[in-house]
C-alpha cells in the first residue's frame, strides 16, 4: 500500500515538484521557529539562582573625588554608614559595573593545572550574598576573617567550577591569575544575571579590598518590601548629598530584568507573527492545491468507488498521498536540518536542534493532515454513478 503510494507520487513528481518545495521551505521556517522556542524555553526553565525582588542598583555616576586613595575609600565608607542607618535598608554591597542585568562585562583568565577559563569576575562585599540571596553549594561565603587577604580568596559559581575542576572538589584548591595565587573558598549556584532567557555563564567572585573600592561604580541595596517613589527620592537625595556625584541613577533590578527580557521576547514575537502568517498562507495554499487535484481526479475516484472501495479507504488514500508528499519534503529538509548540529552553525546544543527538528516534523505532518482532511472527505462523498457519468 505504502509502496504503491510512493510510486503514485513518484510518477507525478513533476506536478508535485512545487508542492514538495513549498512544504520543504515551510519546514525550514518551522524548524527555525522551534529551534528558537526550544532554546529559549530551556533557558527560561533554569532556576534564576537569586532573588531580584526589592533589590535596587544604585549607579554612583561620576564622583568628584581627588586622586588620593584614602579620600575615595572615605567617600564609600561614609555612604555605607549613611545607608546602614536607614531602617528600610536590609543589606548593601558595593560592586563593579557588572551588576545583574547591566550591559557590563568584566572577565579575566583563571588557570588551574594549565587549564584556563575566562569567567565573568564580580567584585563584591560580604553583604552581596544577602542582597541577591545567592545559594551556597559548598564551602563558605566571604566574611571578616578574609580581612587583609582579599587577593588570595575566590568564590566560583557552579559553571566555572565545572569547567575548571569537573566533578571533583574545588574547595581549598589554589588557582592562579597571572602570578596571583588564589584559594577557592566556596562554590555558589549559577545565576542568570543577563536575562531570564540567557544561560548562566562561568563566574567568579572576589572580595573588594580597600585599595580597589574607589573603582566601584555601583551599589546594590536590598530593601524591605513595598518601598515607594517617595522613599526612593529621599534615598536619592541622601546618596547625592553624601557622595556629590553627577548622573546618579537608581534602578530596580526587577525593571532592569523586564527590560532585558524584552530584548529576547520582542524580536521573538515579531518573528513568530511573521512566521505564523507565512504558515497560514502556506496552509491555505496546500489546501487549495489538494482540493483542486482531488477534483480533477473525480473520474478515477468514481471508478474506485464503483468497484467496491469504501469511502474511508478513498479518503485514506488521498490523505496518504498528501503525507507521502510531505515525507519527500521532510526527508530533504531533515538532511539540511541535521547539518546544523553537525557543523555547529550556531553555538547551540545538539539536543535543541534535534528536539526542534522532531517538533517541526510533527507540525508539518499535522498541518498536511488538516489541509488534506476536508478535500479527502469531499472526494469520499463522490457518487460513483455521477462521477462515471461525467466521464
Amino acid at each position: 500500500m505504502l509502496k504503491h503510494l510512493f510510486k503514485l507520487i513518484w510518477n507525478k513528481k513533476k506536478e508535485n515538484f512545487l508542492l514538495i518545495s513549498e512544504i520543504l521551505i515551510s519546514f525550514m521556517v518551522i524548524f527555525a521557529v522551534f529551534t528558537l522556542l526550544v532554546y529559549n524555553y530551556q533557558n527560561y526553565k533554569q532556576p534564576a539562582g537569586f532573588d531580584a525582588e526589592d533589590v535596587w542598583a544604585v549607579d554612583l555616576g561620576v564622583m568628584n573625588i581627588s586622586k588620593h586613595k584614602d579620600s575615595a575609600s572615605v567617600v564609600h565608607e561614609n555612604l555605607r554608614n549613611v545607608m546602614k542607618d536607614l531602617p528600610q535598608v536590609k543589606s548593601i554591597s558595593f560592586s563593579n559595573g557588572n551588576v545583574p542585568f547591566a550591559d557590563n562585562y568584566i572577565s579575566m583568565g583563571l588557570t588551574y593545572k594549565k587549564k584556563e577559563i575566562y569567567p565573568d569576575v564580580y567584585s563584591v562585599e560580604d553583604g552581596y550574598k544577602d542582597v541577591l540571596r545567592l545559594t551556597l553549594v559548598s564551602g563558605r561565603w566571604f566574611s571578616p576573617e578574609d580581612n587583609g587577604r582579599e587577593k588570595s580568596t575566590i568564590i566560583l559559581n557552579e559553571e566555572a567550577k565545572q569547567q575548571l575542576f569537573g566533578s571533583g572538589n574545588a574547595i581549598g584548591k589554589t588557582i592562579t591569575q597571572y602570578d596571583d595565587k588564589m584559594k577557592v573558598i566556596g562554590v555558589v549556584q549559577n545565576i542568570k544575571g543577563q536575562s531570564d532567557f540567557k544561560v548562566a555563564t562561568a563566574g567568579a567572585y572576589q572580595r573588594i579590598d580597600t585599595g580597589r573600592i574607589r573603582g566601584m561604580s555601583q551599589m546594590l541595596v536590598r530593601l524591605m518590601p513595598g518601598m515607594d517613589a517617595a522613599f526612593e527620592g529621599k534615598m536619592y537625595k541622601l546618596i547625592a548629598s553624601t557622595i556629590k556625584s553627577t548622573n546618579l541613577e537608581i534602578k530596580h533590578l526587577v525593571d532592569m530584568k523586564a527590560e532585558k527580557n524584552k530584548e529576547t521576547t520582542i524580536p521573538m514575537i515579531i518573528f513568530f507573527i511573521v512566521a505564523g502568517f507565512l504558515i497560514i498562507n502556506v496552509a491555505l495554499g496546500i489546501f487549495g492545491v489538494l482540493w483542486y487535484n482531488i477534483n480533477k481526479r473525480r473520474a478515477e475516484i468514481g471508478l474506485r468507488r464503483a468497484i467496491g472501495a469504501t469511502a474511508t479507504s478513498v479518503s485514506m488514500q488521498l490523505l496518504g498521498e498528501a503525507l507521502v508528499i510531505a515525507t519527500f519534503s521532510l526527508i530533504i529538509g531533515s538532511f539540511f536540518a541535521v547539518q546544523f548540529p553537525l557543523l555547529k552553525v550556531f553555538d547551540l546544543p545538539a539536543s535543541v536542534y534535534l528536539q526542534a527538528q522532531f517538533l517541526a516534523i510533527l507540525f508539518i505532518y499535522l498541518l498536511v493532515v488538516i489541509c488534506a482532511l476536508y478535500p479527502g472527505k469531499q472526494a469520499a462523498s463522490i457518487y460513483p454513478a455521477v462521477a462515471l457519468h461525467e466521464e
Binding site: 527620592g233 548622573n247 546618579l248 502568517f277 466521464e391
Partner: protein, 413 residues
Amino acid sequence: MFKNYFKIAIAVLKRRKFFTFISLFGISFTLTILIVLTAFMEVLLSPAYPDVNRNRELFINSLELTNKDGSYMMKGRASFYFVNNFVSKMKTPEKLTMHSSRSTTNAYPNDRKLSVDLMYSDLAFWDVYQFKFLEGKPFNAQQLKNAEQVVVISEDMVHKYFGEGVPAVGKEVEVNNLKYRVIGVVKTVPSTLIYIHSDIYLPYTLAANTLKGTSLTGGYVVTLLAHSSADLPAIQEEYQQLLKKVPHPEKYHDLLSSYADTYLESFTRDVLGRSGSSGRDRFFLLMATVIFIFLLLPTVNLMNINVSRIMERSSEIGVRKAFGASSRTLVGQFLVENMILTVLGGCIGLILSLLIISILNSSGIIANLSLKINFTVLCYSLLACLVFGLISGVYPAWRMSKLNVVTALKANN
C-alpha cells in the same frame, strides 16, 4: 486588448473566490511586511526633524587605539581634548558640533519617579540641528562660557515633570540633586534619531570633569556639516590627514584609527565593518538575503496556486491555441492577469500597512515613533509588487504555454 484581458481576469477572480482569497491574502500580507519594514528603514535613515541636513553630514562616532600586533584595543567616543584641539581646526566643513552621549539619571518631582536622559552640547549644536523651539531659546555663548545652570528640555519632559501644557521657561528642574533653570522647550526628538534624542540638553561646560585631561577617548560625538554633499569625500580625507598629526604617545597606543562616516555607515561599521571597510555593502547584502528568503515562501505558494488555476482553464487555453493564438500571447495574457491580481493585493497590503503603522505609532513601544508611508516607500512597494507578480506568474505561464492542444481540449470532459 488589455481591456479584454482585464475583463477576463476579473471574471476568473470572481469564479474561484476561495483561490482568489488565498492569493490576495498571501500577496497583501507579504507586501504589508515589506512596506512596514521599508517605513522603518526610512524613518531610521532618512533626514527627519531635527536632523534635516543629514545628507550632508558626517559623524565621528568613535576612536580606536590599538597596539601593533592587535592584542590591545581601546575604543570609545572622542574626548573634549581631541575635539577641541584637533577636530575643531578642520577647514572643509561648514560647521561642526559636538554633543555627549546620552546618560540617564532620576528625578523625583512630587514623589514620582522619572527616568531622565541628559545630553551636553555646544553652541553650534543648535545651528546644525534645526530644533523647533516651542518656548524660549537655546543657551547663548555667554551662558556657555559662564557654565550657567541652564537647560533646554523637551516637550515630553515638560509633560512628565510639570504637567501637560504648563509653561516651563523660567521654572526650575531638579536633576542630579542640582537645580537648573529652564530657558527653552523644544519639540521632542523621536528616539529613532539615535544620536541626539534626549530629555534635557545642557551646556557642555557643566560637565566640568570631561573637559580636563589629554586622553583621546571620552564621551563626545561629533557632527560635521558640509556645504554640500559633494564635499563629503574631501572632509573624510581631511579627517584622515588630521589623525596622522594627533599625538598618541602612551604605551600600547601605537595605531589610532577613526572615521568620519555618513549616518548609516557610522552604525554598520561597528557591526559589520572589517578592517577599514564601512560595512555598508555587507549591510545591504544582508538585507537583500533576508528579504529574498522571506519572499521565497509566498512566491512558491503563489506559483503553486497559479499552476492549479491555469490548469483548470486548460480547455480555454486549448481552444485559443487551436484557433491560432501563439504561446507568447497566452503567456502575455496570463502575466497581465497575474499583475492585476498582485496590484489588487498590493492595494490591500497598502491599506493593511497603513493600519499597522498607525497602531505601531500610537502603541508607544518605541517612544515618539512616527512611521510614515511617503513617496519613496510607495515606489519601493510598488516595485516589490510588480517583481512579485512577475516571478510568480512566469513559471505557471510557461507551463501553460507548453500544453499540448489535443490534451488541453480533451481535458474539457
